[in-house]
Amino acid sequence: MPETSATSGASITRDEVAHLANLARIDLSDEELDHLAPQLSVILESVAAISAVASDDIPPTSHALPLTNVFRDDVAVPGLSADEALAMAPAAEHQRFSVPRILGDEQ
């Protein structure tokens, strides 16, 4: 993704959408890519205007509620049993989630 701080001409290309889909682990079809890119461009153009309003002296709000460091007591409490946790697994074996290979040929 090219580094840029400008949002002028905020539109998004099909290639950029394909890259983002990869980052988001979604395998978009060619049709989906064709369809999504112009829709996303329109949306991006409409939201890009707010960067002009957001001057440097304004503190960002990540959370409307001013809560900080909400802790609980460090006491062990029961969680799900292994059976409960595995009940909805697509595949399970030996009390573990069975998943496709994580390490690839390149590792």
């Binding site: 993704m1 090219p2 580094e3 840029t4 701080s5 400008a6 949002t7 998004i12 950029e16 983002l20 889909a21 990869n22 980052l23 988001a24 682990r25 979604i26 395998d27 978009l28 989906e32 369809h35 999504l36 829709q39 996303l40 329109v42 949306i43 991006l44 409409s46 939201v47 890009a48 205007a49 707010i50 960067s51 309003v53 957001a54 001057s55 304004i58 503190p59 960002p60 709000t61 990540s62 959370h63 409307a64 509620l65 809560l67 909400v70 609980r72 799900l80 409960e84 946790a85 009940a87 909805m88 697994a89 697509p90 595949a91 989630f97 998943v99 496709p100 290979r101 994580i102 690839g104």
Partner: protein, 521 residues
């Protein structure tokens, strides 16, 4: 009385049915022995069987579970130990909340058949309070939408006009309540998903102060914006339900410690009608161009009623509200793209193997599963969020949105210094036709214009019916916003306005809805 056969009530001339009453009336009837929870629950199950083919408000109906919970409720009452003021009144729950043992899909194929191993805190509270859970209601997929058309299981239809949307994302809950399939429902609101469906279906919907109701067990869309809230036919019902579901939850680190103010008390005081001493602020930016004239007319008549009851009205300006839509459509997809990363086909949910790959890796399977399991709107927002958070764009998009969020909160602070509550129409239009806005995402997003600011600032908001728009005879909603933690103020004014309007109408607005016929539309 408590052992009566529910089939008896269908005979002509037998005892009075409470099936179409307010939940508070049902509760009083239960206490007086004039009906039973089994009777009420069966009546609602019958109604669902009769009309849900046309409405499609429900994704799952739990007949056996609801009747068992109802029987337990009747036993408690016979023993003199009801669990709450609403013990025995049935309720529906939006399918975005975890219900142990009942399917929870979030309106998505990626969770088709997923059965949670635990209850959301709100669900646990409903069970502890004795409300039989009728089933799970339809919604836009992962709460992304304003029409329930983005449900992977087909849209819900508006009981007022089956060719129209019931609003979204919580269209199922709103249709269930306004279609008399349930007297109460639970919804969630991130940008208006309780309030806008309430407006277009003639029901009451409340988004509590952020943190006022636990999010534990709510499948997260945008953590800093989501809230669970009541969907009902009356303001008093909403207050009663809100008091049951609200309060601090140690399982939700974003839930607030402050106890709820008296909401039922506020609604009842409001209904007594004296508004003197109250200042109402009409938000200048939430009206005018882009708002349907009939919606605006009902809105200003409602303001006039409150003034006639003694309130003072001022116009307030919240200049940064014009940026609220853009701010929301940056912050929400960013948070949602992060939240939806958990649907990776490894531990739960849909797992699809990619075609044409010999020994697919975990990542290959993730990509194929997420493409197969997520709908278009969800993909749009995930991609948008991924873009706005990515290196080189973060400051311009997400960073800017966070700053404008501060400006919007400041606008609210300034406005609440001039008025006790702020008001606006809930949505710019009445219910549009199914299919009308599906191809134009931006046009769809405009439905949230008036509701979004409250989520960004964390303040509570209520929508109640203001009347029918003259152009189309469809319901319009009146939105009341109060400062954070002052939910009671919202119920006070809502209770007052509802009483004043019902006096004009000669009864609830829903009595003017056309009769629903069963079967498929």
């Amino acid at each position: 009385m408590t052992g009566s056969d529910p089939r008896e009530i269908s005979r002509e001339g037998s005892r009075r049915s409470f099936a179409n009453e307010a939940a508070s009336t049902m509760a009083a009837a239960l206490a007086a022995g004039e009906t039973t929870s089994v009777e009420l629950t069966q009546q609602h199950l019958d109604r669902i069987a009769e009309v849900d083919g046309a409405l499609h408000a429900f994704l799952h109906v739990d007949t056996d579970g609801a009747l068992a919970q109802a029987a337990a409720s009747d036993e408690r009452r016979a023993a003199g130990t009801p669990a709450s003021p609403l013990d025995g009144v049935p309720i529906a729950v939006k399918d975005v909340l975890a219900t142990k043992g009942l399917p929870t899909t979030c309106g998505s194929k990626i969770l088709e058949g997923w059965i949670p191993p635990y209850d959301a805190t709100v669900v646990a509270k409903l069970k502890a309070a004795g409300l039989p859970i009728l089933g799970k209601t339809n919604m836009d997929e992962f709460a992304m939408g304003s029409s329930t058309e983005h449900s992977a299981y087909g849209p819900t239809h508006n009981p007022w006009d089956l060719t129209r949307i019931p609003g979204g994302s919580g269209g199922g809950s709103a249709a269930a309540v306004s279609g008399f399939e349930a007297p109460l429902a639970i919804g969630t609101d991130t940008g208006g998903s309780i309030r806008q469906p309430a407006a277009v279906t003639g029901s009451v919907g409340v988004k509590p102060t952020y943190g006022g109701v636990s999010r534990y067990g709510l499948v997260a869309m945008a953590n800093s914006l989501d809230q669970v809230g009541p969907v009902t036919r009356t303001v008093l019902d909403a207050a009663m339900l809100h008091e049951i579901i609200g309060g601090h939850d140690p399982l939700d680190s974003t839930s607030i410690a402050e106890p709820l103010p008296g909401l039922v008390d506020a609604a009842q005081r409001g209904a007594a009608g004296d508004m003197s001493g109250l200042t109402i602020g009409v938000i200048k930016e939430l009206g005018g161009a882009g708002y349907q004239p009939g919606v605006l007319a009902r809105f200003s008549e409602s303001v006039d009623l409150l003034v006639a009851a003694g309130a003072k009205v001022v116009e307030v300006s919240c200049p940064n509200f014009v940026h609220a839509l853009a701010t929301y459509y940056l912050i929400m997809p960013c948070e949602a793209s992060s939240n939806l990363a958990k649907f990776d086909a490894m531990r739960y949910g849909l797992r699809v193997l990619p075609e044409g790959i010999e020994a697919p890796s975990a990542e290959d399977v993730m990509r194929a599963s997420r493409d197969a399991g997520f709908g278009d709107e969800v993909k749009r927002r995930i991609i948008l969020g991924t873009y706005a958070l990515s290196s080189g764009y973060y400051d311009a998009y997400y960073g800017s949105a966070q700053k404008v969020r501060t400006l919007i909160s400041r606008d609210f602070d300034a406005a609440f210094a001039q008025a006790d509550v702020l008001v606006s129409p809930t949505a710019p239009t009445t219910a549009f036709k199914l299919g009308e806005k599906l191809d134009d995402p931006l046009a769809m997003y405009l439905n949230d214009l008036a509701t979004i600011p409250a989520n960004l600032a964390g303040v509570p908001g209520m929508s109640l019916p203001s009347g029918l728009a003259a152009e189309d005879g469809l319901p319009a909603g009146f939105q009341i916003l109060a400062p954070a933690l002052a939910d009671d103020r919202m119920y006070f004014v809502g209770g007052a306005l509802e009483a004043l309007l019902q006096e004009q109408w000669g009864g609830p607005l829903l009595e003017q809805a056309p009769p629903l016929e069963g079967g498929t539309p």
